[in-house]
Symmetry: none
Subunit: 219 residues, 4 copies
DNA sequence: GATGAATGAGGATTCATTCAT
DNA sequence: TATGAATGAATCCTCATTCAT
């Protein structure tokens, strides 16, 4: 009975494939970063991975699928690295510290995984988010909502969602600024991103959670 | 009145040329809005304009040039509509009113000129702004800096620039959210954009300019 | 006013295009004959026509369109060559002569336009005629029906249609046999095709139209 | 026979192999029917069979071989089902009954084995029958010749062959018409196919075999 | 035998751009 | 100027077939 697959027999086969997939995703990440998602071509990705176009299509039906898988893996990694919530929040944590930590992590994650930025990129057409980015966006949004709801337990969900959208938008915009600068300037931008978020959220948090007594840099 | 015949022949030509250019730019705007800048094809623009591709290239050396010219005209129109500064600021204007007015104008302008959004779209590639958007971006930035400097006369230019970048980024991110929602939800997002900017700028403005006594919606 | 198209000015432009179209259709005919319709590639057609693939697509949106246009022109030519009906029928013409003439013409036309056969080819999938051949087939069918109805004025239309379908099918099958043979053998097949059609139709025509007194070859 | 290890090991293998082959041929039949022979891909066949492409190529050197083997088995089955001749002919059988029976069987066989139609499909290219269909065609032809020769014992072989070719062609063309219609219309077409063949053959059979006294439907 | 990964040439189609008219 | 024909490289994707495991 050669057809009886043991527990690892089929794995063996998949091993090579799994490696190829990782290789292809790495290549895709590289190409997406270099040329941007829209301009990236499947042939370029295959070339970068050192395989033929046909091989790529054995694992992914199209570019979109690559982006989606890449996004999934990124979110997975993010979850593994930072735990279930974007930032695990001790209810006693002052808002500014929570935001600062969240921003730092977000930026750190991006620095390690530059594709993230390329994939996060909004709609080319106002009002239409490409399917491939949709998943990434909504996952991120959910995490921000999660984080926020511990600070805004009394706000109606619609408000929390709206606030989360704004925060995420600011995160993304800020990330762009951070990434386009270096050294001290970059640090200054990071601080600005923290500031704007903190100041935005402070009144919403209301009396429930004070701000740490440590002074925030006034820019 | 360029069509004055007499001296006129060259005038006439220019006139026709101007009309063609306007026609092409309008077509380009339409196509950019529909398909996004990256996906827009010069052939599609020519078709939309009802002319041949050759004609398009008689006026613009390439797609980029179209985007640049379109951006220039948009900035020009913005200037004509709203005066030299993004918002003419009476030094006595309270910050919240100034921001509110600026945001309203910005959104109004975008509603009237939906291409604006398509052209403003940031870099596909982190750290690299496409040349075609560069001009638009820096012009806008300059206007925001202008507006801010009247509020922050004592801040070092580098800080003003940084603050302007953040504001512009938030503007853009907020615009996306506004455009992707409708009705009451849209209004709520508009308010959020105002809130975040006001709260961000308030401490920077310091004691110099108080906030109007009218209460801001607390979201 | 350069935009005032005279009567022939726009023709001039189209002249080159018209020539190209003819050239492309000729090339397509050649390729269809050589490799068959299904296996024919647009690139091969362009190559055969000595133009680039892009040029082909300036005139035809896809392979199907080429086949359709080719079919249209063939039918047009057939009409021009043989008059409105497949065979203009004098009511007094004996059946055998009418059939013989029709078959001769059909075969002659095919000999002159070998693509005809390639385009006439039935469905790859039982029950589904490709759109590209549909038009050709139904036009031919209509002509056969026309021809038949003068012989079968009293038959219900459904019967005429059915008979026409059978005749056309036999025509096509016979054509294949004729084309795959040469010399005397080909002549013999031609005779067979005539025979089978005549014998099939004879009883249907009933007493209305006798058979010419000239003896039919008994094969 | 270099592979003869024990006495039964090869048996076993063959058995499995036979099963695989049957499985693959069934899958191929299904795919040929769905997409047509030309458009069928070996990968699709393997997938349909639930095996890997490599496995397919362990049993068949290429797509053509699959078609040939499929054709062979079909002919084999036909022979088993209907006996050595397409229709076992009692010399006393009247022509119309013989034809009617043969057509009925032919159609019945096709209804049970729809691939038959897909494989029988003539040359894509006039004058060239693909090798893969060649075998099927010539086998069928041989059977028709066989059948005919009992009716036309005195005709020269060349004539018999020619007549057989015509009959087979008409069979095929008729089959297409039958398959593309349903219900009463299909029955009508079946009758037409019988009619045309009977009328075609009647004069050839000459006085040797009369026509059954039962009246044939006159269309 | 069986698997599934790998190939790479080839398919249809698009597009920015140029050129003859 | 304006036209539209022409280009050809590049796009995504498929497929028959081979090969390492």
């Amino acid at each position: 009975m050669p057809e009886t697959p043991g527990k690892e027999q089929p794995r063996r086969r998949q091993a090579r494939g799994e490696r190829r997939i990782a290789q292809l995703l790495a290549a895709a990440a590289s190409v997406f970063c270099t040329t941007g998602y829209t301009a990236a071509s499947t042939n370029a990705i295959a070339r970068e991975a050192g395989v033929s176009p046909g091989t790529l299509y054995q694992f992914f039906p199209n570019k979109e699928a690559i982006a989606i898988e890449l996004g999934d893996r990124l979110m997975h990694e993010m979850r593994e690295t930072y735990g279930e919530a974007l930032a695990p929040v001790d209810p006693a944590t002052p808002l500014d510290e929570a935001v600062s930590a969240a921003v730092d992590r977000f930026i750190a994650f991006n620095t390690e995984h530059p594709v993230f930025f390329a994939l996060m990129h909004g709609p080319d057409i106002p009002g239409r988010i490409a399917e491939e980015h949709e998943a990434l966006h909504s996952t991120l949004l959910a995490r921000v909502e999660e984080l926020l709801s511990s600070f805004l337990p009394d706000s109606p969900p619609a408000d929390v969602t709206r606030t989360a959208q704004v925060c995420l938008g600011v995160y993304k915009a800020g990330l762009e600024l951070v990434l386009t600068h270096e050294g001290a300037e970059r640090e200054a931008y990071i601080q600005e991103v923290k500031n704007i978020l903190i100041r935005y959220l402070e009144p919403l948090v209301g009396g429930r959670l004070g701000v740490s007594s440590r002074r925030r840099t006034a820019t």
